[in-house]
């Protein structure tokens, strides 16, 4: 069971459309886990829903087109519990994250055009 702290993630129309397209491509929902840094980090990892086991220290920040968005509670605390906007950017995803045919990948931006706090 995760911790629920909804309404801390929103999405741009382009990100919503990308989630829907990915859902129909995969025939099922996806999930997002905000990552914390290093080589391919600081991005939301987009995975098939259920791919990553969600634990008691993961915080559910909201749902985008039926796809849950989580962050590790320790990361969330260290970052000061920011709010995020899910968006897309050109180019393939890095690491294990799903993308849209290598052309678009998901990114998160701070909400309110600021630090997200």
């Amino acid at each position: 069971m995760s911790i629920s702290d909804p309404a801390r993630v929103t999405a741009t129309p382009a990100a919503r459309e990308a989630v829907l397209r990915l859902r129909s491509e995969l025939g099922g929902p996806v999930m997002f886990m905000q990552s914390g840094g290093c080589c391919e980090g600081s991005t939301p990892l987009c995975l098939r829903d259920g791919e990553l086991l969600v634990g008691g220290r993961d915080v559910l920040l909201g749902t985008i087109e039926g796809s849950p968005f989580y962050i590790d509670d320790r990361l969330d605390t260290a970052w000061g519990r920011p709010s995020f906007v899910l968006d897309v950017a050109p180019g393939p995803a890095e690491g294990f994250s799903l993308d849209l045919a290598g052309r678009l990948h998901f990114v998160t931006r701070p909400a309110d055009g600021g630090t997200g706090r």
């Binding site: 290093c38 080589c39 391919e40 600081s42 995975l47 393939p92």
Partner: protein, 506 residues
């Protein structure tokens, strides 16, 4: 001097229009015939085409590794050491070519690949060639007639996934111990740097027995996952970011195999007042020690990205550092005068830009840099970011998140205890730096900082023979040391009775 870019007339690096996967000692086209373009971040222009492989290709590589594993595992340690040394020699003969190829693909300055990356690659193979010769099993006399023999046995076929920041060195860190211990590897390079390792395979293909090393390129979501979840690997080694590390551990748990992980960091670099007790070589070294955050354009898991400076020297010390940072020459990675090249990809550049904006909005003061670096001519489209310093406090996001770029977050402290609190106030624990002329204090700090390596009066040295790995969420396991042989071996115990007498139970 300036090296000619790979593929152009006069370059030390030849480039084919297209490369294949390296499987079973042969160059094998991807099953589905799909390729993607590999760019140089220096100009954002194509270098070549690389396989966009699928899980079928991972299976082919696993077939080849399994076919090779018995013969390789049974090769004497002297025989394996001979192969590792031959690999090291072949790399040494092609040092300049590999340095230029890696620099062009990753963007790191060729002065770094010539002086650090490639020499370390060579040395890692030689180190593990030596280490495996000196390995011994242990035996224990349990009682006068019973002996426990312990033998090291190879795991078999291992999966290894490496990052983009040191494409060849990270390959060497993982391949050298795995091969020394008698394993065969299927390796997936990072998507932004798939090509330079194929140049490395060209160099070693004649000296490495077929199938002991297999390289498959393609998207992580497809082939990284196919490799990490395969029931045909006996171990997974991964270097990369933390959520993926968690996913790797989960996959390993499902197959009940071991995993070793080297993940992120936000390393503190601590400067005590006494570094300024004299204006000498040591002070000069400490100033450079701070500026090392820009090494490899900050794309290092152990980047000393948080500088903690004792308050009473802050003004003078940071002034010296900023002058040194202002003198950093940024530009063409193939120019030996260049000290900082482009970030590896547009994605990295975008993240770094976003973090600096977050820092500004949090109230951090930009002491230098802060923007994408404008470059002229061919380099205009490259992914260059100015060496940047943000002043703020440790609770800010820019002090807590790993930016993976040339961005330093700097703050001050008054006492040793405060320095320790700030240093340990992070989720990570990979590296740290302590600078002081007082050896007792440096030792105390080093022992109390929760990080796998504390560089003391130095930074960014990566010699074979010094164990490297993380505390906290920075990872599990250690590399670059002979203890790595444990991570790539099974222990076989033969428990032997030399007594003719029955136990007497039945």
């Amino acid at each position: 001097m300036k090296y000619v870019p790979p593929g152009r007339p006069g370059s030390v690096v030849t480039v084919e229009p297209r490369y294949e996967n390296f499987i079973g000692g042969k160059w094998i086209a991807p099953t589905h015939g799909k390729y993607r373009v590999d760019l140089t971040p220096a100009t954002a222009k194509p270098i070549t085409e690389i396989p966009d492989s699928t899980p079928e290709d991972v299976e082919l590589a696993l077939d080849a590794a399994h076919a090779a594993k018995d013969a390789w595992g049974e090769t004497s340690t002297a025989g394996r050491a001979e192969v590792l040394n031959a690999i090291a020699d072949a790399i040494e003969e092609n040092k300049e070519m590999l340095a230029v190829a890696e620099s062009w693909e990753n963007g790191k300055p060729v002065r770094e690949t010539l002086a650090a990356d490639i020499p370390l690659v060579i040395d890692h193979f030689r180190y593990f060639a030596s280490a495996i010769r000196a390995e011994e099993g242990r035996s224990t006399e349990i009682d006068k007639d019973t002996v426990a023999y312990h033998f090291r046995e190879p795991l078999g076929v291992v999966g290894q996934i490496i990052p983009f920041n040191f494409p060849l060195l990270m390959a060497a860190w993982k391949l050298a111990p795995a091969l020394a211990a008698g394993n065969c590897s299927v390796m997936k390079p990072a998507s932004p740097t798939p090509w330079s390792i194929l140049k490395l395979m060209e160099v070693i293909e004649d000296v490495a027995p077929a199938g002991i090393v297999n390289i498959v390129n393609g998207p992580g979501a497809e082939i990284g996952k196919a490799l990490a979840t395969s029931p045909r690997i006996a171990k997974i080694g991964f270097t990369g970011e933390t959520v993926t590390g968690r996913l790797i551990m989960q996959y390993a748990a499902q197959n009940i195999i071991p995993s070793t992980l080297e993940l992120g960091g936000k390393s503190p670099n601590i400067f005590f007042s006494d570094v300024m007790a004299a204006d000498d070589d040591f002070l000069d070294k400490a100033v450079e020690g701070l500026v090392l955050y820009a090494f490899n354009k900050g794309e290092v898991c152990t980047c000393p990205s948080r500088a903690l400076i004792q308050s009473d020297i802050y003004d003078e010390f940071i002034a010296r550092c900023l002058a040194r940072i202002a003198a950093i020459r940024q530009g063409d990675p193939l120019d030996t005068e260049t000290m900082i090249g482009p970030q590896v990809s547009a994605q990295q550049l975008e993240k770094i830009t976003s973090y600096v904006d977050i820092g500004r909005k949090e109230g951090a003061e930009v002491l230098i840099g802060g923007s994408r670096a404008a470059m002229a001519g061919e380099l205009a489209d490259g992914y260059y970011f100015e060496p940047t310093v943000l002043k703020g406090e440790n609770k800010m996001r820019v002090f807590q998140e790993e930016i993976f770029g040339p961005v330093l977050a700097v703050t001050t402290f008054d006492t040793e205890d405060e320095a320790l609190d700030i240093a340990n106030d992070t989720l990570y624990g990979l590296g740290a730096g302590v600078w002081s002329r007082d050896g007792n204090r440096a030792y105390r700090m080093g022992r109390k900082i929760k990080a796998g390596r504390v560089w003391t009066n130095c930074y960014h040295l990566y010699p074979a023979g010094a164990a490297f790995g993380g505390y906290k969420i920075s990872g599990v396991g250690r590399e670059t040391h002979l203890m790595m042989l444990d991570h790539y071996s099974q222990t076989k115990n033969l428990l032997v009775s030399y007594s003719p007498k029955p136990l007497g139970f039945f």
